[in-house]
């Protein structure tokens, strides 16, 4: 039997999230674990970064959604792309790294990878059954 699924990606694991952020060229600040917002308010986070334009963002584990959530002060957002687009890019790259890592554990190999004109990434992986 075969199936077709659509999955709404959530940032559920730290490792592929960190890989995704590195892959997109963002540098994680390993010493600070907080995001400083307007009026000097601090929010503790699990992953902290400075985006170009000195925009501070972080990701914090959220027990309600069971996923990492973005923490930033939108009043101080100066990064070249809007915050929604930033989250989308991170989520897309998170999905990519999660797929590569989980399928590799199961013995699959990439046979095709394409960046499509609509901005999507297509991946084909195969393995021979023993």
């Amino acid at each position: 039997m075969s199936h077709f699924s659509t999955i709404k990606t959530k940032l559920k694991e730290a490792e592929p999230l960190i890989k995704a952020l590195n892959n997109l060229g963002y540098t994680i600040n390993k010493e600070e674990k907080f995001v400083k917002g307007f009026r000097g308010n601090f929010t503790a986070v699990d992953i902290s970064m400075n985006l170009p334009g000195d925009t501070k963002v972080g990701f914090k584990w959220d027990n309600n959604s069971n996923a990492y959530e973005l923490v930033t002060d939108l009043d101080l957002w100066k990064f070249e792309i809007p915050v929604e687009r930033f989250i989308s890019k991170v989520t897309q790259m998170y999905a990519y790294h999660t797929i590569i890592s989980k399928t590799n554990e199961d013995g699959y190999q990439i046979v095709e990878q394409k960046n499509k004109n609509d901005g999507s990434i297509e991946l084909v992986l195969t393995k021979w059954d023993n």
Partner: protein, 71 residues
């Protein structure tokens, strides 16, 4: 020794479409369960063409059409 194939389309917003081919019985569900759990929430799941051997023609026609639209 059938070849097992996983196809993914990762959209710009992070939504993932996954097509799983070449499995027998329900093993295709087990094959991708860990991955689906790690990715997030499955919003749509359908059996595709080669799962229809024992299904009605009505379903076959409908689902084949949907598969063609996606890929």
């Amino acid at each position: 020794m059938p070849q097992k194939t996983l196809r993914f389309k990762i959209h710009q917003d992070g939504r993932v479409e996954e097509t799983v081919e070449g499995f027998t019985g329900n093993s295709c569900n087990e094959a991708t369960k860990n991955l689906e759990d790690a990715l997030g929430k499955v919003t749509v799941k359908k059996k595709t063409s080669d799962a229809f051997i024992s299904n009605e023609n009505e379903n076959l026609k409908q689902l084949n059409n949907e598969s063609n639209v996606t890929f």
